[in-house]
Amino acid sequence: MLSRVANNLFWMGRYIERAEHVARFMNVNYFSSLDAPNQLSQSRQFVLQSMLFMVGNSINDASVDLDEEQVLYDIALNPEESYSIINSIKNARENANSSRDLISTELYESLNKFYHFVMKYPKEAFVKTNLYDFTINVSEMTAVLRGKIRGTLLHDKVYAVIMMGVNIERAIQINRIINTKFNDAQKAQGGYGDTMANSFEWSTLLKCAESYDMMRRLYKKAPTSTTTLEFLLLNSRCPRSFMNCINQVYNHVKELENKAEHEKHSTAFLVGKVRAEFEFKRIEEITEDVQGCLNGILDKMFKISESMEKEFFGY
């Protein structure tokens, strides 16, 4: 596989995944806030701030009065904003275009349909009435794409590169979501006991990661800060957890390596090291300094991505 094409496929995977997380975050946050138990969680300004924080465009000044329609438009359909969903889909398709000979006709067709759906989506309707329709469609179409990636591509290096992109991006986005909701939970605390641990925001967080139902099955209790973080960071059976992402990345990077043993400076070695660290981590070590741990994970993912660029895409 050509280095340039590998790079494009890697980013195609990343952009598809990114679009999905942003869409779901918008959807879950907006709709769960409508009947949230406390005033702050219910406030529209709080939700909009939270969305902007998640896409990396946080407004640090609480006195700024955000315009709802503008914020929604910016995050979903504004082609001028690099973080918008429309831009992610454009970039995903552009990356797919340049490697059309390698991906399946079926995958390309689904992505292309998705692209035209987003490009044609009426802006007015979206900001006024169709937030649910748009975001749910984005979620569904990305699910279709994931299915086509898994089901219509040869599971070789092409697949491995795409899946590395998907999983690295997922780890990063889940991290961003946790970070955002952790931030929100500190502000909108629960009504009893350890108020921060019981915040309503933890349920929202799980829903943002499509992990609420899974979590209920496993813990059978209302989520708290500790159980939620443990589930989303360390539980390898949760498909959205950081642990699962890093396991996937490790499996796929081995496919790309040509040697039986990892070299000290290889990407596989780096991924393996991070994986080993989290495999034997306890949640208590994390809750001591949640923010520090989240920052550390983000930093590690960026390092892995950089190392991939050097090792496989450098030309």
């Binding site: 596989m1 050509l2 280095s3 340039r4 094409v5 590998a6 552009e94 275009n97 340049s98 059309r100 000979d101 390698l102 006709t105 390309y108 067709e109 292309n112 349909k113 035209h116 290096k157 590169v161 790309l256 040509n258 496989f312 895409f313 030309y315």
Partner: protein, 489 residues
Amino acid sequence: MGKVSNKSIFSNYQKNEGLFDEVFDENGNVKSVYQKILDIYGARSIKDYVKLNNKAKSSFFNQGITFQVYGDKESQEKIFPFDLFPRIIDPDEWDLIEKGAIQRNLALNEFLWDVYHDKKIIKDNVVPLELLSSSPNYLHQMMGLDPPSRIYNHISGTDIIKHSDGNYYVLEDNIRCPSGVSYVICNRTALKRALFGVFNHYKTHTVTDYAENLLSLLESVKPHGVDVPVCVVITPGMFNSAYYEHSYLAKAMGIELVEGRDLFVENDFVYMKTISGPVRVDVVYRRIDDLFIDPMEFNPDSALGVPGLFAAYKKGNVTLANAPGTGVADDKAIYTYVPDIIKYYLDEEPILKNVHTYHCSRPDDLKYVLDNIHNLVIKPVDEAGGYGISIGNRLTKNEIDEVKNTIKAAPRKYVAQPIMSLSVHPTYIDDTKSFEQRHVDLRTFTVLGKDQQFVLKGGLTRVALKKGNLIVNSSQGGGSKDTWVLKQQ
């Protein structure tokens, strides 16, 4: 499904007496090969047809089978208009086309060998020297060079029309980077999806075997000493109007689609940059024009090509298909000499006719052209894509004067041909929601390899969608039809 009689779906079909209709004979009767399909289409209402047509259109759009039109400001993504009513060619007619295309392209290959070696054809005064010396497509760098298996025009597109006399004529040879073959395959796929039932009544040759024949050709012209060659397709990139085709061909052949920046040359060998390091490349199917393939040898500003590629080619370490310099033989000025070229090298009569061409470079012809512009088509010698063509009987008096001045300023640049009446084919027209006569041509695809020749049984029937228009190129608003070559009963 509304039942509409055969008559009503074509009831508004107006036949212009002066034109050769592919489906109806001069008495208005359906030609036998079309009888069955007309019965089947006749059983559907126009409404059904509109629905099918829209489905086919969105299928093309969703699959991203589109091309870019370079317009005023930004390029636009468009689907290639496609007509669901196929063109059918019976086996005997096809036999003539196929033999004619092979003959013609073999002769052109001999011509290319000759003009880059001993130039016997010029010494024997069959083709005038100044046609070569004045041609911008003649590459002196190719002098004396022996391409692997002695082949220059591996892939050729021969544009053929049917005149009102019922005979096929070659209108143009395309032996640089002919495009359109991917649409042949897409058209067939779309038609099969929409109207699979009709295929039960016709034994039609497949068109999906193009890619395997092309790959087998590319492998057959591998450089000397290579066992299993690595072949690639090189594209100018995703903004090229034919990018879909490049990616389709690479995918269908299962080989890499590369851009210039993916390749590099070291010690006169060509490599591509992969995730596992450099991999040697032996055969390059290039879809980049001659002057852009190597900035060290040709256009130094080209960012599309690969520095050193031509040197590697000269050493025989890599094969380029088509060979550089083929443009000298598909030039519209050389076109006139093709019947002579066929006789000279093959000692055969041309199977396919040529349209008579007037060379503005010859004083007698120039005078005739200037006096008879209203009856002629004026074409620039070296423009592709239907750009710069003037059709005499469409011009106003002022425009005629303008054209005259342009020709007089650079006679070598223009040729003229009698206005050929391209045959017409019933074509569904969206605006009027009915079938109308539209002019069509046929681009055939010929592949020449080491001891192998292949003509794709089908080809691209291009339709001029504007009423009365004779220019069928997609960049000029042309569409296309699936083309069926029937098997011998």
